[in-house]
């Protein structure tokens, strides 16, 4: 049977080939290029000169860029936290409900996810803007002239949380579905109130889903561009805004590449850490069995 495996493998590569080609050409190539360009020197006339330098990375250590990085990390953490707080009740409900409308509830959860983020941000601008809904009620109730609800960190966190909440809910929901309801009932039968059941049973057993969700929310929020651009204004700038400006406005592509590489390293690092922990967790489970 020496002839049999070879043509089959060839066929497999034929099928997988075009996709891999797309990946190599459009993912690998550009990322490698970014890596190399980040080490080149910036030139106002020719954009970059292929002379290796670490100046771009060193510039990132400037206080301004460190501040922006800190803002980015901070917003990422706050968004993740908000998503956990709002996401758990929703995920629990969706996982446990036996209502026939569950398809509708899922549809309502997923549709905003699939609509362009600009549209959702536009909605927030209408709600929170100076001439927006909240302020019109504030004025009607005579509570003052109008609040500055936009162009600050809470606004950006609000926008990102609303955007990314489904990313937390979906994996969490899947994890909770894996916890058999009888385990919750056993805990209640032994005297645990709802909060206790949540803390002692649901949370530990849905941890993988929680970690998955946190990972997703965090990595997407630290690479946000549109939300801080429209809801953060001049005061709240994140790394994404800087990359955009450097690439399209300042045309300092080496520096932009350096920022991109750093961002990639951070998200890649978080992913790796997650995979490492997950493998360790599942390995310990296997040993237990």
């Amino acid at each position: 049977m020496s002839g049999a495996p070879a043509p089959r493998t060839a066929r497999a590569w034929l099928l997988v080939g075009p996709g891999l080609l797309v990946l190599a050409a459009l993912l690998l190539g550009p990322l490698l290029q970014i890596l190399t360009v980040s080490l080149f020197t910036y030139s106002p006339t020719r954009i970059w000169i292929p002379e290796p330098t670490l100046a771009n990375y060193r510039r990132l250590a400037d206080p301004y860029y460190l501040a922006v990085s800190w803002t980015t990390v901070k917003i990422g953490l706050l968004t993740t936290l908000a998503c956990i707080v709002l996401g758990y009740p929703l995920a629990y409900f969706l996982a446990r409900t036996r209502s026939r409308l569950v398809g509708l509830y899922l549809f309502l959860l997923v549709t905003p996810l699939m609509v362009s983020s600009v549209i959702r941000i536009f909605g927030w601008l209408v709600i929170l803007g100076r001439r927006g809904l909240v302020n019109s009620w504030v004025q009607k109730l005579g509570l003052g002239d109008g609040l500055d609800l936009l162009y600050n960190t809470p606004a950006v966190v609000t926008g990102l949380t609303e955007l990314l909440l489904p990313f937390m809910v979906l994996p969490l929901m899947a994890a909770i579905e894996n916890v058999h309801p009888s385990i919750e009932e056993a805990a209640r039968n032994l005297g645990a109130g709802a909060l206790h059941v949540f803390r002692r049973v649901i949370v530990p057993l849905s941890l993988p889903g929680l970690v998955s969700g946190c990972l997703l929310v965090y990595t997407v929020s630290i690479s946000a561009l549109v939300t801080p651009a429209l809801m953060g204004g001049r005061r709240v700038r994140m790394l994404g805004n800087l990359v955009y400006d450097e690439v399209l406005t300042s045309l300092n592509w080496p520096f932009a590449s350096a920022m991109a590489v750093v961002l990639l390293a951070v998200t890649g690092g978080v992913m790796l850490f997650y995979l490492r922990t997950m493998r360790a967790v599942s390995r310990s489970r296997v040993v237990a069995e």
Binding site: R8, I34, L108, P112, G129, V243, G268
Partner: protein, 263 residues
């Protein structure tokens, strides 16, 4: 405390969370029907003037129909083809490097979109392709493909090999068995993947911001620029049209093709 009283606070919390989630979209849709441009909610009346404005605005119409729609349809087709074939290769064949290939196909999901946008922009700049439709299509293909691969893979894995084997025992060749038995059975996964790819391409903003030029402005990018320049409720009309498109596609996908969004 009666059972209802105990359940009420949780129910209220859920309603509040859903309201938070849907508030922006609801407001946008409502504002699009407001006859004035005062952005009030609930709108004082119903009017289609902003929709009229949308259809008479050349940039908006161009963005929606000549750019976004065209690109999304193309991407949907290409992604389904390329991704579908890849999925078949990954599920039905055993070969060295298969696991690596599986992981590779998840690559575009792992890399943040703005990084892809910046990287692709620089890449195309080298090839002088920056702002063409082709560049946009290829870029969207990159981010849509993993979802198609995942959807079709899930669908294929659910099909018992013995069905194809039964067909072959009745005289069909491998290819015939695949086309006549498996393909019809994964039809819903393939169509779900196609719908997914369409939506991802149509709604993309992060890549498009880097890759669009004067002739190739997508709808989300145009909305973005209009917001930045303090436009009028035509934005709301454009947005509502996109929301409607996505909602219909998702609804059909969920109902007819049992589309399930899993992350």
């Amino acid at each position: 405390m009666s059972r209802l009283a105990r359940r009420l606070p949780f129910g209220l919390i859920l309603v509040a969370i859903y309201m938070f989630l849907l508030a922006p979209l609801v407001v946008v849709v409502a504002v699009s029907f407001d006859p004035t441009d005062a952005f009030r909610f609930p709108p004082p009346g119903l009017s289609l003037r902003w929709y009229a404005a949308f259809f008479s605005s050349e940039p908006f119409v161009h963005a929606f129909f000549r750019v976004s729609l065209v690109v999304a349809l193309t991407v949907s087709l290409l992604a389904t083809l390329v991704g579908g074939l890849a999925a078949v290769g990954l599920v039905r064949f055993r070969f060295r490097g298969r696991t690596a290939a599986e992981v590779a196909f998840l690559g575009p999901i792992v890399v943040p979109e703005i990084l892809l946008g910046a990287a692709l922009f620089l890449f195309y700049a080298r090839l002088r392709l920056q702002t063409t439709l082709a560049a946009l299509v290829l870029s969207h293909l990159l981010i849509a493909m993993p979802y198609v691969v995942r959807t079709v893979t899930a669908g294929l894995s659910g099909i018992n090999r013995s069905l194809e084997e039964a067909a072959m025992s009745l005289g069909a060749s491998r290819l015939q068995a695949f086309c006549r038995v498996t393909l019809p059975l994964i039809r819903s996964s393939v169509l779900s993947g196609a719908i997914f790819a369409f939506i991802i391409s149509f709604s993309d903003i992060n890549l498009a911001l880097f890759l669009t030029g004067p002739q190739t402005v997508t709808l989300p990018v145009h909305i973005f620029s209009q917001i930045a320049w303090q436009g009028d409720p035509t934005i709301a009309a454009a947005s509502t049209l996109q929301i409607a498109l996505v909602a219909v596609l998702l609804g059909v996908g969920q109902r007819v093709f049992r589309l399930r969004v899993a992350l």
